[in-house]
């Protein structure tokens, strides 16, 4: 059954090719069937593979399928192979599962578009690339998926290619991602230089015995990989593309810019947990960048009026949480949050899509209000997901977020916990601000048209996702570790052989004559303080409720309050303008580069080419001196001949 794994990414890619080449001839209905059939088939295959994996003998946690040698150069051999292990299975399930649901939704959402087939061509291709990303058994294959999804994201953001803003957003996304990829490539190069291989199994098994704990190489590898992750997962400083990416159709935002692609960075860091374990410095960086992004993006999210932009900043913020979890070594929590986030954020985006669809592509929340009667299903599912993201017991977000906060405090420090808690409060606030502004209060839209709930094909996915968002938390209940299914499941991947690391590093440091530290961080076992855990849960629940209450007061009870409190404050303007980061990047990086290049070009013509033409001119000048002697008169030439002849005569005789 495991042998079928290679089909999983291939099917959507084939679907994409069929849609792309024959889409116009096939007609929309057939395209829809092909496009949705592929992901669903992949999902079913994933289930079969999962079953096959469960049937593997005890103690076998990795199963590899090598299709062919992709790049064989001397001792650098890259296989095209898929690795099936608990982590990749989880990711495959999320990607193909959520992907299938969103594909179905997209059929309804995009049905009126002329280039329906083009959309599904990209969309299927994305799914294939994403599956390659999570299934690859080496860094380079991951990079294929990594750039492949980036490329599809570029296509899909720029789907409405006649809009300048969409094109700009697409190009921006690609270029910013490229900055991250640049670092990723360097990281891979470092890895090969260090380990002589880029296969996961080789690298991760060799890492504890070849890299010194806290050494410069380990840190460089991790930091470069992490920069790559910040690009893809929209973390500080490379987050600016994600809000702009909302120019794409809403299903795209749901699948790519919320549920799957942007979490690829988290997957990658989790995958490389062995390497990160060797570099405490980079772990701290990951944690602080994640925590910082969680708070930073949440503050921006509070002041946005475009419904999708709020969700985009919310995504950035939530991924920040995941990195925060990775940074404190709680990879399970990160993956847990990744899963639940995929559910509720996809649901939120699709819900917003329904609203936008029903409101004739109006995205400004200030022009909504009181929509709950017009969108009953959307309203309920949206509310469920919002409660989940805000962290209300017993919805999925509560468990996953709480686990992160707990680990932030226990394995990290109070500052990280503070960041997480602040973020949680802000999240609850801005999400309910969104809900209140959209579904409650007075209607502010043009009353002449009637908003309507979309068709079943769009509401069914909402219900499914809302259900998942509700019950997804059951995957891991933090207190009772016996019940933490996900933790046990992922244990083989996230297990770090601390003793080997300590032995090797000690040996190495003694050899190099260094003082050997006590390796506290590695030997430290997280304690299970049940009362503390429960009280923390209470605190975070209180925080969430506090956020919701604040939003209620601001936007339902006293709608004038925001303006009176915040109106005219410089801080509000700053937040509304997203801290003017884009403007500053444009002013200090983009413009100077373009202008500099322009002068470089002019210089190229004047200086570099000038030197060439100058050399030619010098020869030309000498030629001009010789020119009078070429008078064109035959007699002159004869005269020179005679002179020469006489000279020879005189010389020879």
């Amino acid at each position: 059954m495991l042998q079928l794994a290679w089909l999983i990414p291939l099917i959507p890619i084939l679907g994409s090719i069929v849609c792309g080449l024959y889409g116009l001839k096939l007609g929309k209905d057939k395209v829809a069937k092909i496009a949705c059939g592929g992901p669903i088939l992949s999902f079913l295959l994933t289930l079969i593979v999962l079953l096959g994996f469960l049937l593997l003998p005890e103690g076998v946690h990795v199963w590899e399928q090598v299709l062919f040698n992709w790049i064989p150069v001397a001792d650098f051999v890259v296989q095209w192979g898929y690795q099936i292990d608990p982590l990749s299975l989880v990711m495959m399930l999320v990607v193909s599962g959520v992907g299938s649901v969103i594909h179905v939704y997209a059929v309804g959402y995009m049905y009126e578009e002329y280039s329906f087939y083009r959309f599904f061509c990209y969309f299927n291709l994305f799914l294939g690339a994403m599956l390659i990303l999570v299934m690859g058994n080496n860094f380079l294959l991951m990079f294929i998926g990594w750039e492949g999804v980036g490329c599809c994201s570029y296509f899909l953001i720029g789907y409405y290619y006649d809009k300048k803003s969409a094109c700009d957003a697409g190009t921006k996304a690609f270029v910013v991602n490229r900055v991250g990829d640049f670092a990723f490539i360097l990281g891979v190069l470092f890895i090969f230089n260090q380990f002589g291989s880029i296969d996961y199994t080789t690298v991760f098994s060799a890492a504890p015995t070849t890299l010194v704990y806290g050494s410069e190489t380990a840190t460089l590898i991790c930091i470069f990989l992490f920069i790559g992750a910040t690009g893809k997962s929209a973390q500080i400083p490379l987050y600016t593309w994600l809000p702009d990416a909302m120019e794409g159709p809403t299903p795209v935002s749901a699948l790519i810019h919320a549920a799957t692609m942007v979490t690829a960075g988290v997957y990658m860091v989790a995958r490389c947990n062995v390497l990160f374990a060797l570099s405490p410095l980079s772990m701290n960086i990951v944690a602080f960048v994640g925590g910082g992004t969680a708070v930073f993006a949440a503050t921006i999210g509070m002041a946005q009026n475009d419904i999708k932009r709020v969700l985009a900043y919310s995504t950035v913020s939530q991924i920040g949480y995941m990195f925060l979890a990775c940074g404190v070594g709680a990879y399970t929590a990160a993956i847990f949050h990744l899963i639940t986030h995929a559910f509720f954020k996809a649901c939120l985006f699709l819900g917003s899509g329904s609203v936008i669809h029903g409101m004739h592509h109006e995205q400004d929340m200030r022009k909504y209000g009181g929509l709950k009667d017009h969108f009953p299903i959307t309203h309920i599912t949206f509310l469920v997901s919002t409660l989940a993201i805000a962290g209300i017991f017993p919805l999925s977000g509560f468990f996953s977020k709480d686990e992160i906060l707990f680990h932030a405090l226990m394995d990290g420090n109070i500052i990280l916990w503070g960041m997480g808690a602040t973020g949680a409060f802000l999240t609850a606030f801005y999400m309910f601000r969104l809900v209140f502004m959209t579904f409650y209060g007075e209607a502010k839209y043009d009353l002449s048209f009637h908003p309507h709930e979309p068709s079943k094909i769009m509401t069914t996915p909402l219900v499914i996702l809302a259900g998942l968002a509700f019950f997804g938390g059951l995957l891991g209940i933090p207190i009772i570790h016996g019940w933490h299914v996900l933790h046990d499941w992922l244990e083989p991947v996230f297990h770090v052989d601390s003793q080997t690391i300590i032995d090797y590093s000690t040996q190495h440091m003694i050899a190099a004559g260094h003082h050997v530290p006590t390796f506290e961080a590695l030997t430290h076992e997280p304690s299970h303080n049940v009362p503390l855990e429960i009280s923390l849960m209470g605190v975070s629940l209180l925080i969430a409720i506090g956020g919701i209450t604040a939003a209620y007061f601001f936007y339902i009870k006293f709608p004038k309050l925001p303006d009176t409190v915040m109106g005219g404050q410089w801080g509000l303007e700053l937040v509304k303008n997203k801290y003017e980061v884009d403007e500053h990047i444009d002013e200090y990086i983009v413009q100077p580069t373009v202008e500099g290049s322009f002068y470089l070009w002019k210089g190229d013509a004047k200086v570099v080419d000038g030197a060439v033409n100058g050399a030619a001119a010098v020869i030309n000048w000498f030629s001009k001196l010789a020119r009078p002697y070429q008078s064109g008169f035959v007699r002159n030439y004869a005269l020179f001949m005679v002179v020469g002849f006489l000279a020879i005569l005189i010389m020879v005789y």
């Binding site: 005679v642 006489l646 005569l649 005789y653």
Partner: protein
């Protein structure tokens, strides 16, 4: 005896050659040239190259010079358009230099001839310079150049035709 004929013929040929250069009318030049050719035929006879002497008269004095006269008549060149010493630029210095140059050339060649010491030549065999003798050499050792020369003449003929042909559309 040879000297007796040589000196007048040589002097005459030099004078006629100068006449070619300094005659203001092309026809005068051509006539002088014919005279010079005939003188040279005489010189060839003195060298017992009788066959060549005949050829000289036939080809040069006959064929080639007729061609010259023909072209002069065709173009109706009664007087030369230039007088000998006046170039258009009136560059006296250049003219004088040219004169000195040619004088130097002549002087140098004469000097070389005088300085070299050849001594008496070999005795002349019977039948030297006859048609038979020259013909034997021509058709044995030099048969290939001879044939090539015929091709050359053919090419020259065609070339002259093409060049001189008036373009008729």
């Amino acid at each position: 005896m040879e000297l007796f004929f040589f000196i007048p013929i040589a002097l005459l040929s030099v004078l006629l050659a100068l006449g070619v250069v300094f005659n203001s009318s092309p026809i005068g030049s051509a006539v002088s040239l014919i005279g010079m050719m005939l003188c040279l035929a005489g010189v060839f006879v003195l060298q017992s190259a009788h066959f060549l002497a005949i050829l000289q008269v036939l080809i040069y004095a006959g064929a080639i010079m007729v061609l010259f006269m023909f072209v002069i008549m065709l173009l109706n060149l009664k007087t030369a358009e230039d007088s000998v010493w006046k170039s258009r630029e009136h560059n006296t210095l250049l003219s004088v230099l040219t004169g000195f140059l040619v004088l130097g050339l002549a002087y140098k060649m004469v000097e070389i001839a005088m300085d070299s010491n050849f001594g008496p030549g070999m005795p002349v065999k019977d039948g030297f310079g006859t048609t038979e003798a020259v013909g034997t050499v021509l058709f044995t050792d030099y048969v290939l150049p001879f044939e090539v020369a015929s091709i050359l003449l053919l090419v020259a003929m065609i070339g002259a035709l093409v060049l001189a042909k008036t373009k008729i559309d």
